[in-house]
């Protein structure tokens, strides 16, 4: 999976969690929490969807790496290698 696809994977999950949210203008360097209505329950959902869709496990202690799209890419690049984007 390319870096761009990893971002799309995360945005796809956020769109499913909150269909009423506009995700078209997310700044990848900025914290997701500061741009979108995401609380800790939603981060649990992102983690669980990553597991369900891509078989990727993110332990509680690593949640901080999911703060922004850029940090997601850095953290998930190895874990998502060789996986197909689920739409």
């Amino acid at each position: 999976m390319t870096d761009e696809q990893i971002k799309q994977a995360i945005i796809g999950i956020i769109n499913d969690i909150n269909p009423d949210e506009d995700t078209s203008n997310i700044n990848p360097g900025e914290r997701l929490r500061d741009q979108l209505d995401l609380d800790s329950m939603d981060f649990l959902d992102i983690v669980m969807e990553l597991r369900k869709r891509y078989g990727v496990h993110v332990p509680d202690t690593d949640y901080e790496h999911l703060a922004s799209l850029d940090s997601c890419v850095g953290y998930l690049r190895d874990k998502m290698a060789g996986k197909e984007l689920v739409s």
């Binding site: 969690i17 269909p19 009423d20 209505d37 609380d39 329950m41 597991r51 369900k52 332990p59 509680d60």
Partner: protein, 495 residues
């Protein structure tokens, strides 16, 4: 014998909320419901061709589409429901009506504030201070100490009637305690009613339940109706499953019970559960209600009733306590569901009146077998029913009349326009919800973390402590997250 990741007792708002979460993440889950209809405390029924809701006057916690950080938005995200799927329509305005004073409020908090400023000019600074205290309190902190709300409210507001006027709607819509509330529950109710406000779907509670059931089934959850739980099975302080009324045994890693705290303790063998938790058995709630549903021949607005909901007391001091008599008709809630801002005219024009009632008094009344007879005598002639009424139905008639008479200081006389009446009592509530004593809001003791004293068995719904329909669903959701999904995620690498 079937084994599940989770068994959920009760297909009410909390059970379905929890079920959707677990099914969504591929857990093997079953929801067990003793009755043939779902919804629990917020259900529906049909009577003489009319569709009535039980419980639901209004959904509290209204939020606009996309509003950030509010309970409704949180709920929608957790259940993956779009805002417009709920089909919410806001109230016009409601009121708290006491002798010589009336405070209107709507989903715009400024209306209530200006009403207080006008009616109680010397109290507005205190009211503002109370509002700030409510705003700043984090009700989601489950570890906060339990404080008494009355003490805090009285420290800001010195006029006793205004104190009671503020408490009145909050107590009627959620308090399991007599004449006081836990501060965190007060905050939850204050925000959900006064800051956020009322709305309802055109089709009422049915619409919400249908959404939940569809979502649950689509996610792969199993629902078993007419399936009561006889016992929760546990070994060495750990829940292992349930035994059904028909003797069948189901096993599970986790059991989530929305049956109520007292009721769940009974399912486990009350003594053993309380002893394990190092606690006395939970006290049974004392607060139950009667409700009369009047079907009018024209919209309530056409006979001069403009409010959506009126919370009233005919005495300056509001007494939120179990009455000695069958009912306390000196206070209550009057709901006109047709006065929500609905896109279509409602099927029926209703006036619903809720009063506090005494379960034990209703329960001891003799009742003949067979169908209830209509509560209004004149209806008898029409339906041709001539059986002599039993004590229970005689009491229904008597208290129906009093209940209607005692709201006439707050709304115009609607009685000549009534064409059909139904009434339910604390007995009805116990029958359909299983809540001991018909205690609508459960036990005054809450288990905010869900812990029951038995590992693997958790309390959800009313007795977990989140209130209202949105609160109940969030209760199921947050307990499913906490006790199943988060744990699962924390242990996945070692299993």
């Amino acid at each position: 014998m079937s084994h599940y990741d989770a068994i959920i007792i009760g297909a009410g708002m909390s059970g379905l909320g929890a079920g959707i979460r677990l099914a969504m993440f591929d857990k093997r889950v079953v929801v067990l419901e003793r009755h043939y209809v779902w919804g629990g405390l917020n259900s529906f029924y049909q009577y003489k061709g009319h569709q009535f809701d039980v419980g639901l006057h209004a959904m509290t916690n209204y939020a606009e589409r996309g509003a950030k950080g509010l309970p409704l938005t949180r709920l929608l995200k957790q259940l993956r429901i779009r805002w417009d799927e709920l089909d919410l329509h806001q109230q016009g305005h409601s009121a708290v009506s006491f002798p010589g004073a009336k405070l209107k409020f709507s989903n715009d908090f400024e209306l209530l504030r200006s009403e207080v400023a006008t009616a109680f000019p010397d109290q507005i600074d205190g009211f503002d201070a109370l509002t700030t205290a409510v705003r700043e309190f984090n009700e989601l902190d489950l570890t906060a100490p339990t404080l008494n709300a009355r003490e805090i409210v009285e420290s800001h507001i010195s006029n006793p009637m205004l104190v009671d006027m503020i408490f009145c709607p909050l107590m009627f819509y959620g308090s399991a305690r007599e004449n006081d509330m836990d501060w965190d529950q007060f905050v939850v109710m204050f925000k959900s009613i006064f800051f956020e406000g009322f709305a309802r779907p055109q089709a009422g509670v049915r619409h919400i339940l249908k959404l939940l059931i569809d979502r649950y089934r689509k996610a792969g959850g199993e629902l078993r109706m007419k399936t009561g739980v006889q016992r929760v099975l546990h070994e060495n302080g750990r829940a292992i499953g349930v035994e059904l009324d028909n003797g069948e045994t189901l096993t599970a890693d986790t059991v989530l019970s929305s049956a109520g705290l007292v009721e769940t303790e009974k399912l486990c063998g009350a003594a053993s559960l309380a002893a394990r938790a190092g606690q006395r058995p939970a006290p049974q709630g004392k607060l139950s209600f009667t409700e009369t549903i009047n079907v009018l021949d024209k919209p309530a607005r056409e006979i001069g009733i403009d409010e959506t909901i009126i919370f009233f007391s005919n005495t300056e001091r509001f007494n939120y306590a179990k009455p000695d008599a069958l009912c306390d008709t000196s206070s209550g809630v009057i709901c006109m569901p047709g006065n929500f801002d609905l896109p279509e005219p409602p099927n029926d024009h209703l006036v619903r009146i809720t009063n506090i009632a005494n379960f034990d008094r209703w329960n001891e009344l003799k009742r003949n077998s067979g169908a209830d007879i209509p509560v209004r005598a004149e209806a008898d002639a029409r339906t041709g029913m001539s059986a002599p009424p039993d004590a229970y139905n005689t009491a229904k008639r008597e208290w129906y009349t009093r209940s209607c008479d005692h709201v006439l200081g707050h709304i115009p006389d609607f009685r000549p326009h009534t064409k059909l009446v139904d009434m339910f009592t604390p007995r009805t509530i116990r029958h359909y919800t299983g809540h001991e004593g018909g205690a609508v809001y459960g036990s005054p003791t809450k288990r905010r973390t869900g812990a029951s004293g038995i590992e693997g068995l958790y309390i959800i719904g009313t007795d977990q402590g989140f209130l209202g329909i949105i609160g109940a669903m969030l209760s199921g959701i947050s307990m499913a997250n906490r006790w199943v999904l988060q744990r699962d995620n924390a242990t996945v690498e070692t299993t």
